[in-house]
Symmetry: C2
Subunit: 289 residues, 2 copies
Amino acid sequence: MSDLESYKVRTKEWFEELRNQICASFEAIEKEAAGPLSDRPAGRFDRTPWDREDQADGSHGGGGVMSIMRGGRVFEKVGVNVSTVHGTFTPEFAKNIPGADQDPRFFATGISLVAHMNNPKVPAVHMNTRFIATTKHWFGGGADLNAALPVKKDTSDFHKAFKAACDAHNPDYYPKFKKWCDDYFYIKHRKRARGEGGIFYDQHNTGTWEDDFAFTQDIGKTFNSIYPELVRRHMNEEWTTEEREELLKYRGYYAEFNLVYDRGTTFGLKTNGNVEAILMSLPPEAKWP
Amino acid sequence: MSDLESYKVRTKEWFEELRNQICASFEAIEKEAAGPLSDRPAGRFDRTPWDREDQADGSHGGGGVMSIMRGGRVFEKVGVNVSTVHGTFTPEFAKNIPGADQDPRFFATGISLVAHMNNPKVPAVHMNTRFIATTKHWFGGGADLNAALPVKKDTSDFHKAFKAACDAHNPDYYPKFKKWCDDYFYIKHRKRARGEGGIFYDQHNTGTWEDDFAFTQDIGKTFNSIYPELVRRHMNEEWTTEEREELLKYRGYYAEFNLVYDRGTTFGLKTNGNVEAILMSLPPEAKWP
């Protein structure tokens, strides 16, 4: 097996393993929850495999598995999608993808997660990491916190955790990837950030694949450590109708960002992607009062 | 006063007059309502004037008035925006606007309305008519019905009314403008229409301004006759929780259309338009379960 082929196998296996670890964490939280809505049964993930449409040349385009938990005690709706797809970029897209100008074939594997919470005091979150290969290959990803009612210490602990993960690899990463996140998750027409930020990186290839893979693994592990900690910190707190209304309005802004600006969403929708997987990020309920 | 200057004054006055007529119709419906939620006070419109940002040359860019009724017995949220603005297109936009390649200055006046209803059995609706002038000038507009639980006779009566309005001017209008509406209000990623259709027309200039103005006036009058009729037909009916959930899911699709595809919305958001006026079209509550 060539190096590249082994990279594809190892990244795919890692993203699946990370999905299993995160789903286990979140189901453990559901079992522990003892606050509002704990009269509900503990939420469980349902897994639904999906296939990508077959390619023009008749070959299979890959697919993925959507893991969704709905209506839990703590998690109102959380989707974790792992996909591994391959195919050929159209000439129009190939122009904008590194390495695809020479050969438009691509491979992409990744994990993408969005969690919307019942409790307005528990922040929502987004996390995504991926490995892409054309004639070049690179990692991308990040995580950002989205609190309708931000708590300084939560924001600060979330950032500290990702700073530590970044610093262990390169002290330049955190400042660069934090700024990238702030720039990316900005709702231009509202003149406000989508949330409390985090990190965002793309086309990450330092020339040492093992390091880059270890970095991407650390981002996933850090997520699965700090986010459950923040959830546990607030999940048993009570909330008021006014706080829930704040959350629903905040989610409206979140939906606006994803539908108007998010490149993955708009790219996916306009290129016949899997609609359910792409729009899993949309909030279970939102208001524009 | 030149012909064109008188056209600007007359169209602006008509759109304001139509707004007054529609607001009066809708407030009359609120007073009459005797079904679910009629223990609430009858809804009333609040008017909020807004100014467009001043132009680069220091001149005033015009503005408008948002009329909004919220939390009524029948109308959950309805916004009627009348705006009259002028300015200079950026070179990039000027390329795509008829007549603006010769001189980038423009004038635009119009009325835009979106109504979201409490009762899943009462269809939502959108209506918009406008007059634009560059070195050329034209009318545009339309109306389309959006029922979460479509009723054949409602759809058919809505279309009949606009067909009659169109036919009185030109028998070619209705088939052409109906198709234009179907093509425009299509949610590509969902492979479904946004609603039950209606009519849509743009860059409408037959060479006889008085006829074109009369046509645009007739579209507004037709709207203010047929839509209140459809509302009265269903407003006192009861609904179930399941029907309301259907409505909230349907509104999710509506929000997707407006944020992903609607040219007025995406154009407005990306060019620093009045966010509150542009996003008044978004549903007061929506679900992506």
